[in-house]
Each structure stands twice: as structure tokens, then as C-alpha cells.
């Protein structure tokens, strides 16, 4: 009772504080309820709980230079596509911070990324069920002109606990032109970062480094429409703590990513190349699973939004891959033959990723292998060539069309036995047409087709061809209705030639969104930024509410 009273007093004083100090509270809330019924045809399981729930509430209070925040999370129990270790309720995320004279101090949880993340990225992605927030102390400091420093010490979150590894990190970035007051048209930004992880380890048979370090340097050069970004990273020996000789790998890891961009009005081009070798940095060296991954090799492929284009997505292989990507954006001018009245936007994209010669670097008392630096002839993991056209025909009609050809090494990317599914080659076509009926009323149709074949004979039956159709009716600003069907008409197994039908209704008002859906989901790989998870097939009703304030 006394405690309650105290809490109440505390809240009241918080309230006063907010009113007096010009402070404010922001936040957002999200609830996702899903029911599961058994559906043997699509191999969907029913949940014992019948209804599963993921929900969270973010609260941030900020006033002048002061900020505090927390997140309440509830998994009762977690949706089937989430790791079942998300279980129960709690406040796993809370922090306080303030800024004074260019020094920003954070105590508690924080998200941080150094450069493009090659050696360190702590982030959250609700869609994937990833949250490796750090818990510790972080300092950010702006030293004079154009120099900024970041440093932190902490442990990373895994589900409702923290992984064992203690991370220390420091990152510096200097804007050369600003620092040295150069009146130059070419701009240079230099950066460097360092990470060290400590884990207490004993091993009676092998020498184990308890402090493992990784470092990276980056350079950004900008001139007019040109932009070059390059980052190079290196990790020292980081063997797991095994007693088996062939599991012990003392090789160092490395990665680089380079991009060159040019753009001007109506035209843009980006060319990229990257390579990663033995560059997986975990928060506990022996653990498997994406919850423990602490670095990020940005994926070299276009993130597709259309369903059939994303059925076979690319997942980055931090242990070893070499890839290139080219993107061209062009807008055909208004008033030309192809441009029409409003102009036509065209995006061409090509990406190709292959393995390293002989696999990733390996070093122990019996083995010593390091792959060639540039060898594009190795086993293909993924390739995608696609062109997207976006055009407004008149005031009421616009369309988006995509045609793509993708090659997907299913055996490798999904960890199957070689020869099970082999390599798939798919040609995909998408037409997305929207028609404005009257003010605020729009109807949109999507038709998609995927034609797929196994490039070599495989022991398992292929899913083969798919068709998909979607109709969506929206009434601005509040309503949307959608119905869609995916049909696996080309499955080699005739009993699996199934329809996956879904109906969704949504209501939006201001910053609140309600959505209710019913239907079947296919088992598949779902990726965000090249980090992927396997989503089990399901059949049931879904309710989601999101709001922010």
C-alpha cells in the first residue's frame, strides 16, 4: 500500500516536472494478436494457447537536454514466427541520458552502429524479432569542428537476458573540410572504429583469446553529384571454445564494402562491390542464432516489396561471400513519347553474389586456407536482374510494372543438403495498377506471376510456379480493404497445389491504425536487410493495432 502511494507520488511529481520543465512525452504502442488453427494441407500447426500475442509500448520523456525512455514488452505467448524464448512480460529496455557542452551521455539501453555496421550494429527489427540493444554506458562527444567521437561499454540483449560478452567500442569521424576549414569542392569524411569483446573462457586443450578485437576504417568522398563510400574491416582470431581440432578456427576475418554513386536531376547510378570472409562477430562465440549476431554486412540486392519477388530473398553470408550490384534510376522526361504527360520512372537493378574460393579462411594446427580476394567464378548464391517502370498515365490511372529474373541457391542459402532442391531460376512479372474512382476512392490491382525451375535435377520436389492476385480498395483518409490469393499451381507435388487466400480490413485515423486479417500464410523465408528468418505456415485470424502519441 505504502509502495503504491509512493509510486503515485512519484508519478505526480513526474507530471509536475513535465509541466514545469517544458518537457514532453512521446511514445508508441503496438499490439499483434494472432489465432492459429490447424491446417494439415499447408502444414500449419494450431497453437495450444489458441491466441498468441506480441505487444509493446515505448515511452520517451524529453526535456531540454534530458531524456529518459523505456519499453514494456509483452509476449503471451510470442507469435509462432517469433523465437519462443521471447516469453512473458517485462521492461527490457530503459535508459536515461543528457547532453551538455557537446557531450552526450547515455546510461542504460541504447542502439548503436559504427560505420555501415561491418564490425558493430546494435539494432531492433520488430518484424524479424531481433533486438540486440546494448545495456551499459555510452558517451558521444563533438570535439570542435567536424570531429565527433562515440564510445561505449556494455552487454547486448538476447531475448529477456544479456549475452555474456562484454563489448567495448570507440568510433571517431572527422569531416576534413570542416575541421581544416578547406574551401574545397571535394569533401572528405574519414572514420575509424574499434570494438573489443571480452568473454571469460577456459579450455584445457587449446589457447583461447578472451579479448577479441575488430576494427574498421572508412572514407567518404563527395563532389557534386559524385559520392564514394568505402569501408574496410578486420577481426582478429575468434575461435569457438571447442575441444575438437577441426572446429577451432584461428583465422582472422575481413570485410569491405564500396559504393560509387553519381546522380543528377532525372538520373542516378550506384555501383557497389563487397566481400566478407569469416566476418561473423557474435556476442557469445559459441552460440548459434541471429539473436547473437553483433555485426552487419549490408546485403547486396534490391529489397523487393512485392510478394513473389521476395519469395526467394537474398541473405548475407557473413562467413564468406563476394558480390556486386548496379542500380540505375532514370526518369524519362515529361512530354516525350515514352515519358507521356507526367514522365516515366525506370529503375534497373542487377546484383550477383557468389561464394569464396575453397570457403572462408581457416587456420589451425592442421589447416591453413585463405581464399582468393576476387574470384567471381565460385558457386553462385544469388543473382537478380530486374527492371521496374513506374508511370502515371493520366489523372486517375498509374501503374508500376516489374520484370525480374532471379537465381537462388536454395540448398546453400537455406542450409539444405546439396542436391535436395538445387539452384532455382525464376522469372517474375508484376503489374500493379491503381485507378482513382473519385476523390479519396482508389482501387488497386496487383497481378504477379512466378515461373520457376530447378537448374539441375534435385531429390526434393520443387514448389514451381506461382500466381498471385490482389485487389485493394481504399477510402482516404480512413479505410482500406484488401483481398489476395496466392496460388501454387505449379507445385511438382500435386497435393500441394494450394491457394493461400487472405482478407484484410484496415482503419486509419491520425496516428492510429487498426487492421484485421484472416487467411493462410505460406511457410517461407522473411528477410529485412538480408537478415532472414523462417516463418512457419499458419492459418488464422490476425488483429493488429498500432498507435503513436
Amino acid at each position: 500500500m505504502k509502495n503504491k502511494f509512493l509510486t503515485f507520488l512519484f508519478s505526480i511529481s513526474c507530471c509536475n516536472l513535465i509541466a514545469q520543465n517544458n518537457g514532453q512525452i512521446t511514445g508508441d504502442f503496438s499490439l499483434n494478436l494472432q489465432s492459429y488453427v490447424e491446417d494439415a494441407a499447408i502444414n500449419a500447426a494450431a497453437a495450444d494457447e489458441v491466441v498468441l500475442n506480441n505487444a509493446f509500448l515505448n515511452l520517451t520523456y524529453s526535456s531540454n537536454n534530458f531524456i529518459i525512455g523505456l519499453r514494456y514488452e509483452s509476449y503471451l505467448n510470442a507469435l509462432l514466427d517469433y523465437d519462443s524464448e521471447f516469453r512473458g512480460n517485462g521492461v527490457p529496455y530503459r535508459y536515461a541520458g543528457y547532453t551538455i557542452d557537446g557531450l552526450e551521455i547515455t546510461a542504460g539501453n541504447f542502439y548503436e552502429q559504427f560505420g555501415s555496421g561491418l564490425i558493430f550494429r546494435s539494432y531492433e527489427e520488430k518484424g524479424l524479432g531481433i533486438d540486440n540493444a546494448m545495456d551499459g554506458i555510452r558517451l558521444k562527444y563533438k570535439i570542435g569542428k567536424g570531429i565527433s567521437l562515440k564510445s561505449f561499454i556494455g552487454k547486448s540483449r538476447t531475448f529477456f537476458t544479456y549475452a555474456e560478452g562484454i563489448f567495448r567500442g570507440i568510433d571517431a569521424e572527422i569531416d576534413i573540410n570542416e575541421s581544416f576549414e578547406l574551401e574545397n569542392t571535394t569533401k572528405y569524411i574519414l572514420g575509424g572504429s574499434f570494438i573489443s569483446r571480452y568473454e571469460q573462457r577456459t579450455n584445457p586443450k587449446f589457447i583461447i583469446p578472451q579479448n577479441v578485437a575488430a576494427y574498421a576504417g572508412r572514407l567518404n568522398i563527395l563532389n557534386g553529384g559524385w559520392n564514394y563510400y568505402g569501408e574496410f574491416a578486420y577481426k582478429i582470431n575468434d575461435p569457438i571454445n571447442s575441444l575438437q581440432e577441426n572446429q577451432m578456427n584461428y583465422a582472422s576475418g575481413s570485410a569491405f564494402t564500396n559504393s560509387l554513386t553519381y546522380s543528377q536531376r532525372g538520373f542516378g547510378i550506384t555501383a557497389e562491390i563487397h566481400r566478407a570472409d569469416n566476418m561473423l562477430l557474435l556476442s557469445e562465440r559459441e552460440r548459434t542464432g541471429k539473436a547473437y549476431i553483433m555485426n552487419y554486412i549490408p546485403t547486396l540486392s534490391k529489397p523487393h516489396a512485392y510478394t513473389l519477388l521476395a519469395i526467394y530473398p537474398c541473405a548475407t553470408q557473413a562467413m564468406g561471400e563476394l558480390g556486386v550490384q548496379l542500380d540505375i534510376f532514370y526518369k524519362i522526361k515529361k512530354g516525350t513519347l515514352l515519358g507521356g504527360k507526367y514522365g516515366t520512372k525506370v529503375n534497373f537493378n542487377f546484383s550477383r553474389i557468389n561464394g569464396l574460393e575453397g570457403g572462408y579462411s581457416m587456420l589451425n594446427d592442421n589447416q591453413d586456407h585463405s581464399p582468393d580476394l576476387f574470384d567471381f567464378s565460385q558457386e553462385l548464391y544469388y543473382s537478380d536482374i530486374n527492371i521496374e517502370i513506374n508511370k502515371k498515365i493520366n489523372k486517375n490511372i498509374r501503374y508500376n510494372a516489374v520484370i525480374a529474373n532471379q537465381t537462388y541457391n536454395k540448398d546453400f542459402l537455406e542450409g539444405k543438403t546439396p542436391g535436395e532442391y538445387g539452384v532455382l531460376n525464376s522469372t517474375i512479372a508484376v503489374l500493379d495498377l491503381s485507378y482513382r474512382i473519385k476523390k479519396g476512392h482508389t482501387i488497386r490491382f496487383e497481378t504477379q506471376a512466378l515461373f520457376s525451375k530447378q537448374l539441375e535435377t534435385a531429390s526434393k520436389e520443387a514448389e514451381g510456379d506461382w500466381l498471385m492476385a490482389l485487389a485493394e480498395y481504399t477510402i482516404s483518409p480512413n479505410w482500406f480493404f484488401a483481398i489476395q490469393d496466392m496460388y501454387n499451381y505449379g507445385n511438382e507435388n500435386e497435393s500441394k497445389r494450394l491457394h493461400y487466400m487472405n482478407i484484410n480490413v484496415g482503419f486509419l485515423k491520425g496516428s492510429t491504425r487498426f487492421e484485421i486479417g484472416y487467411g493462410k500464410k505460406r511457410e517461407g523465408i522473411f528477410c529485412v536487410g538480408g537478415v532472414c528468418k523462417l516463418v512457419p505456415s499458419s492459418n488464422g485470424l490476425n488483429l493488429s493495432i498500432t498507435t503513436s502519441f
Binding site: 507530471c15 520517451t60 531540454n64 539494432y123 554513386t261 532525372g266 542516378g268 486509419l508 502519441f549
Partner: protein, 165 residues
Amino acid sequence: MKKTILFLTSIFFCATLTLAQGKSLPNIDVKTLQGKTINIQDLENDGKPMVISFWATWCKPCKKELNTIAEVYDDWQEETGVKLIAISIDDTRSMSKVAPYVNSSDWDYEVYLDSNSDLKRAMGVSTVPHTFLINGEGKIVWNHKGYIDGDEEELYEQIQHLVTK
């Protein structure tokens, strides 16, 4: 547990109180396409309204919204003086495509990168697109989650409402 609930409820209560006054932008840094760091609180538009729109190169409705507004942006600016600020939440995978996309699309918006999602979190944005309307005093007066065709008209009504008030 009960304590937490009580605490959260009171916070909610306070939040509703403060909501009526209109919120300010948080003290968060973003980057320009030229790699320069800018504090979001330093953005201004001579006392005229600003629209802040969160988007990403991989988000179809976001691009639809911004492309639709781009067609009428000249008129909007002429009539109300509004400025649109597009905050890209692209992470390092697609960050390099922001500038080519923006330039090739003929956008006249101010574009910033929020690649670590710091601003996104601070403004309570859970999904994109999410659009905020800021009045001349720098307060958030209206916001809208998602985009469906025609939503830009409601946004414009809100802008006009601000200007004529």
C-alpha cells in the same frame, strides 16, 4: 507489476495533458546527403509550416506519397510556403540508393538520413510512411500514419488551415 501499470497509467495521463499543447521536435542529429550532421531542432522555415515525412527507398506507399506530393509541391509552396522534409530510414544496405533515387525523381524536398533510426524512435514512428505537420513555432500539430491514395489532400487541408489561422 501493479506498480508498473500504475506508473504507466499516470505517464499516459500526463502524456495526454501535454499532447494538447503540441510537442516540439526532439534533440536528435540526422545526416544530410552530403554527410553533414544536422540537429533536427535546427530545421526551420521562416515561421511557415513544415511537413516531416518518414520514408525508405524500399517502401512503396512512402514513395507513392512523396511522388504524388512532388507533382503538386510547387503549388503548395506558392500558396502556403510549406517546406517538406523527407527523412529516409534506409539502413546501410540501401542508404547509397537514397541520393540517386531522390535526384532521379526530381524531388525538391530536403532529404535527411536517419540510418540508425534514432529520430524514428524518438518521434514514436513504428512503421513508415508517417507524416508530421509542424507549425511556425516548431510544434507538431498533426500527424498521420500510413498513406493511402488521396491522403495528401487531407494533409494539404491541414496546412491551409495552419496558414489561414
